[in-house]
């Protein structure tokens, strides 16, 4: 009995498999959406938009690796081989110029571009643009806020909520009260995010002519802005204000430090709010902690000058080699609709790029700081937009790490030399 039923089972499986293969040609086209890992929000959006397409197409999601750099590596390898299975891509903004320049992204028609940028924060539009063309569809947009312990700010005589604070003020406050600052000193993308925000807040730019040919790219680090950024990072590193694990402190480690007894100020993405509430609910954190946490605009470098907070998030790219570009454009517009962005923000904690989503009562309830996030996004400065972003970012991480070694006189110069030589193909990285 055993052998015969096994043979039958195998045979019927093969028939079923063949049937499944053959079915692809008849029904509606299936769009594959390569998504970054989240809390299931993008899969839900795919299902919603499949429903509202009413049979015009189906959207399936395919999961990319957790790290943004690994996502880029996988997508670049596939797209370089003209992978036609990639219809929609959840793309980290720094890699957009590289993908656009390589011809990996399908063109976005003007009418679609106008529709998807209406009411969208400027930071997200800038991040989705390359050489004055919108090359991706803004989806969700992230920014960092200054999170502070009210008790520490009060003791230092600061009121960050109403009076924007400077880096020098929070450094002094932490040093005087023997507390730690939550900042990201790890040799990873988080460090580039921090360096860029500091340089931009000081009125500088990491790359001054991002659209130039690779051999002529000019860096703007050897400037007053670059020196001020190096001064801040070096001081925090040398005075031990980043805590004992500063040299490999990422966003999550900063949050843990901030939640601890020696927490004071922290710059971080809004995910920390939901994570802290969850920690209190699970009983891992003291319930008094929530009342002690305040939020404000990212610190500025010089008093009276506006900060340029970090900008992050995800945009939707349309794969250039897919067989269903029109359907994919439709699907992208559905995914980024105001309702869907509000839903995504409430359920997955990722802030919307469309300002209208912030008026949703559910959003206002889940994020008491929603208006501040919107304001911060309008002010946010993107990381250097260049097709060679990976080289620039890794070059910065190599020269500005460990943070205690950063010196205003030498570090910006070393970074400029290294990155320039790497871009000219004269050095390894």
């Amino acid at each position: 009995m055993g052998r015969r039923s096994a043979t039958l089972a195998v045979a019927s499986l093969m028939v079923l498999g063949l049937a499944a293969c053959g079915g692809g040609d008849d029904g509606p086209p299936t769009l594959t959406w390569y998504i970054n890992p989240d809390d299931g929000g993008q899969a839900e959006l795919a299902a919603r938009c499949t429903d509202s397409a009413d049979g015009a197409y189906r959207i399936e999601t395919s999961l990319l690796p957790r790290e943004a750099s690994a996502q880029r590596e996988q997508l670049a390898r596939r797209l370089a081989a003209n992978d036609s299975s990639i219809d929609l891509i959840s793309l980290d903004p720094p890699f957009i110029p590289e993908f656009a320049e390589a011809g990996f992204l399908a063109e976005i028609p003007d009418d679609v571009a106008d529709a998807v940028t209406e009411n969208v924060v400027q930071g997200a539009i800038d991040g989705a643009t390359w050489k004055d063309e919108l090359v991706t569809v803004p989806f969700w947009a992230n920014t960092q806020l200054l999170w502070y312990r009210k008790s520490v700010a009060e003791a230092a005589g600061l009121d960050p909520e109403n009076e924007p604070v400077t880096w020098q003020q929070i450094i002094d406050a932490a040093a005087q009260q023997d507390k730690y600052l939550g900042v990201q000193g790890i040799r990873a993308e988080a460090l580039t995010v921090w360096i860029n925000a500091l340089v931009a807040s000081a009125g500088g730019e990491i790359i001054t002519n991002p659209e130039a040919d690779v051999a002529d790219v000019q860096l703007g680090l050897e400037s007053e802005a670059g020196q001020q950024a190096a001064e801040i990072i070096g001081t925090i590193g040398r005075e031990g204000l980043g805590g004992p694990g500063f040299a490999n402190e990422d966003e999550n480690a900063s949050m843990l430090l901030f939640q601890g007894d020696q927490g004071s100020f922290m710059v971080n993405w809004p995910f920390v709010w939901a994570a802290t509430l969850a920690g209190v609910e699970a009983g891992n954190l003291d319930s008094g902690l929530v009342d002690d946490i305040g939020w404000a605009m990212y610190p500025s470098v010089a008093e009276g000058e506006e900060a340029r907070p970090p900008y992050g998030g995800i945009n939707l790219g349309i794969g250039a080699f897919g067989d269903h570009v029109d359907e994919a454009l439709d699907a992208a517009q559905c995914i980024v609709s105001v309702e869907n962005q509000a839903f995504y923000m409430v359920t997955n904690g990722n802030p919307a790029s469309n300002t209208e989503a912030y008026d949703d009562p559910e959003v206002q309830k889940a994020f008491p700081m929603a208006d501040l996030i919107r304001e911060s996004l309008e002010q946010a400065g993107p990381r250097p937009q260049t097709p060679y972003y990976n080289e620039v970012s890794t070059g910065l991480q190599n020269t500005w790490h460990p943070p205690s070694s950063v010196q205003p006189d030498s570090t910006p110069e070393a970074a400029t030399t290294l990155i320039t030589e790497v871009l000219k193909g004269e050095r390894l990285l």
Partner: protein, 318 residues
């Protein structure tokens, strides 16, 4: 398995030789038939990529900009070999290789002795226990060691804070010496079983008669070890060292997981990874890979020529 018998006469001796050579020929033919397909597959999966990598290494070629690909002669090799980053990576790789192989040889030998001398009933349990680390995937063991030493999740700091130099604030991945210590320790923990297994096979080959004879002559344990055991398993030792050196020189997972090359812990294979996979500079990355391959060839050549490693005899074929 084969028992040899002393032939009685010269004629018989000749006949045996002829029969053997016939049989040897048949065996050789069978050998080719058995090994041939594997040989062809090896050529396809190793020789082809090596040739392709060498070809790619002669071009300036970025995956995202294929139109700008241009022939560069040996320019990529010049860039690599004149860059301090390459020599730094080579230095770190040699350091990690030398320390891990030396420590593993001693530890592995001790473990092999324990396994060899253990009571018959204990032996299977002991061998399994010793082999467990080797059965764990390297990435998994790297994560385990990383989390154990990490300042926010690790337990090492609180368990060993009674040792000088270790406290709650010790950041193992904050500087070169401590990072490299953890990388080396993890590598040793993971691969010592491999070396001890090879050495155990060598120990089993040492004839018991020689040991007995030495014992009868009144040799001490140390004398027997130095005069009988080690000389008789020299081939096994050299093969174990060769395999481990080649393995250790290509270390990647531990560095990738624990430090991502920060604090100057970059090793050669990580350098190749960064150029090829992260930077998508296929030409430059292939040049680093080819140089890594040449280093490995050089190590094998040195071992085989200088130390006269005989791979065949280690397998008990001669």
């Amino acid at each position: 398995m084969t028992t040899t018998r002393v032939p009685d006469s010269a004629a018989e001796q000749e006949a045996v030789a002829a029969a053997l050579s016939d049989r040897a020929r048949a065996e050789r033919r069978l050998g080719w038939w058995l090994a041939g397909p594997a040989f062809v597959v090896m050529l396809l999966v190793t020789a082809y990529p090596i040739v392709q990598a060498f070809y790619d290494s002669l071009f300036q070629f970025r995956l995202t900009d294929p139109d700008a690909r241009e022939f560069n002669w040996l320019g990529n090799y010049w860039v690599v070999l004149t860059d301090s980053v390459w020599w730094q990576a080579v230095g770190v790789t040699v350091l990690i290789t030398a320390i891990t192989v030396a420590v593993e040889a001693v530890l592995g030998f001790a473990l092999a002795l324990v396994m060899h001398r253990a009571l018959r009933t204990l032996r299977p349990v002991l061998r399994t226990a010793i082999l467990v680390p080797y059965a764990i995937i390297t990435v998994v063991s790297a994560f385990a060691w990383f989390y154990a030493f990490d300042i926010s999740t690790g337990f090492v700091n609180s368990w060993f804070d009674w040792l000088p130099g270790i406290g709650a604030d010790t950041n193992w991945f904050g500087e070169f010496s401590t990072s490299v210590t953890v990388i080396i320790a993890s590598e040793i923990w993971k691969t010592t079983p491999f070396i001890s297994l090879l050495l155990l096979a060598g120990l089993a080959q040492v004839p018991e008669d020689l040991q007995e004879a030495a014992k009868v002559d009144g040799a001490t344990w140390w004398q027997r070890m130095y005069k009988v055991t080690i000389p008789n398993m020299k081939a096994a030792i050299m093969v174990a060292l060769l395999f481990r050196t080649l393995d250790a020189f290509r270390i990647f997972d531990n560095v990738f997981i624990m430090t991502q090359g920060s604090n100057n812990t970059e090793v050669v294979s990580f350098l190749a990874y960064r150029q090829t996979i992260s930077r998508l500079e296929i030409g430059l990355g292939s040049a680093v890979s080819v140089l890594l391959f040449l280093c490995v060839v050089l190590i094998s050549f040195t071992f085989i020529k200088l130390f006269k490693v005989d791979l065949a005899s280690a397998r008990g074929e001669r």
